[in-house]
Assembly symmetry: C2
DNA sequence: CGGACGCTTGAGGGTCTTCAAGGAATGTGG
DNA sequence: CCACATTCCTTGAAGACCCTCAAGCGTCCG
């Protein structure tokens, strides 16, 4: 078990892989630096989710604490040993990887062809799933606009403008910068799935 | 072992997962249909690569033969049994999944923030790796512009125009529609990695 | 030889980015 | 506890890029 301050890295891209981690509390950010210096946020990790899976010998991305974080650390040697001794453990690992792969593929499919507004709507709705608070319509983002932008492949300005449009259409409200209240989840879902072309009537 | 004609599907999105497949000859296309009817091509599969990994009970995407294809089919029951009996088999499976996950993450990172020209350059270069013919600078695409467009998240027109620009800059030539000859691989790599902003001098 | 299909090329418009400046929020030191 | 500095967020205007619509061209097949 390991406690991390905000902004602390547990590993960087290219580091040797030594452990698999499980988030117990707080939120982690996984990101990848591109050749041109830009940053692609691969994923955010909430409690219960694994980090460090599916890499080669070296880490593919950097892992950084967004908030204060508590991590469970499992040395790779133990992972390997358990896989030898306990076939069901291997199956479980395969399942976790499979889920992560499916999610990542979804990310490809959706980031590629959607407008900024649709991306942001999907992002917000994804937060509901992540935290499991499906009825709690007040969300704490725990991250800045730049994180969202780097995750969705947009600029900070576009993210900000998209938030403004969601507010104008009364789909969400923003009592604080990092807090989102969903006001019309039906329309938000419709937007995320592409059902609405562009409905500004907001009625 | 199973032989497929062109355009034949081995499974559709949502089908129950029954086998894992290994491409022996030819090229497969994995794709995913979006809510709005569009198609996202997830990946192409060349000989030696696996298909059907990392799914849940149901297939996440459809798998279709692009060319004539020969497939090795392994029933899932056998996969599971071997995983119980032979831990190294499980490790191997985890490794394959890890590689696929890393590739997919790369796809996210690169599709998200790159221009059409950079995407196409990367796509062409990716073909070199896939076929393993690193010195063979004449490539057979085996697919139409629409496949490339749906893979890169572009329109057919933009793909066509991007090919035209690569030709104008003498980076590639196209003796036939589906055949690419790389004429200046250095510049193509520079373009793919974002080193060149926009060099029209073509010298 | 004719038709169908896929590829190319053009013009116009929409969306996102870039550049720029102002405003809110957060943290630090007095 | 307040003032100030820094950082982050918002908003505006101009431009770039890609998409859409449209037409022309080439190729393959019947």
């Amino acid at each position: 078990m390991r406690h991390l301050e905000r902004h602390v890295h547990i590993f960087y891209e290219g580091d040797a892989q030594t452990h698999i981690y499980r988030t117990k509390r707080g939120m982690m950010r996984l990101y990848h630096l591109l050749a041109d210096g830009r940053r692609q946020v691969i994923a955010f990790r909430l409690p219960g989710q694994l980090i460090g899976l599916g890499e080669h010998e070296t880490q593919f991305c950097s892992a950084q604490a967004l908030t204060e974080v508590v991590l469970q650390c499992v040395p790779l040697s133990i992972v390997h040993r358990r896989m030898q001794e306990e076939p069901r453990f291997g199956s479980e690992l395969v399942r976790c990887l499979a889920v992560e792969l499916a999610e990542t593929r979804n990310q490809v499919a959706f980031l590629n062809r959607r407008s900024a507004l649709e991306k942001l709507a999907t992002f917000i709705l994804g937060f509901l799933t992540w935290t499991g608070e499906d009825r709690e319509l007040e969300l704490e983002l725990h991250m800045g606009r730049e994180d969202i932008a780097d995750y969705l492949g947009l600029t900070v300005e576009t993210v900000s403008r998209s938030f403004a449009r969601l507010k104008t259409q009364n789909l969400v409200s923003l009592p604080q910068t990092h807090t989102v209240i969903i006001q019309n989840i039906g329309k938000l879902i419709a937007l995320a799935t592409g059902a609405f072309e562009d409905d500004e009537t907001g009625s």
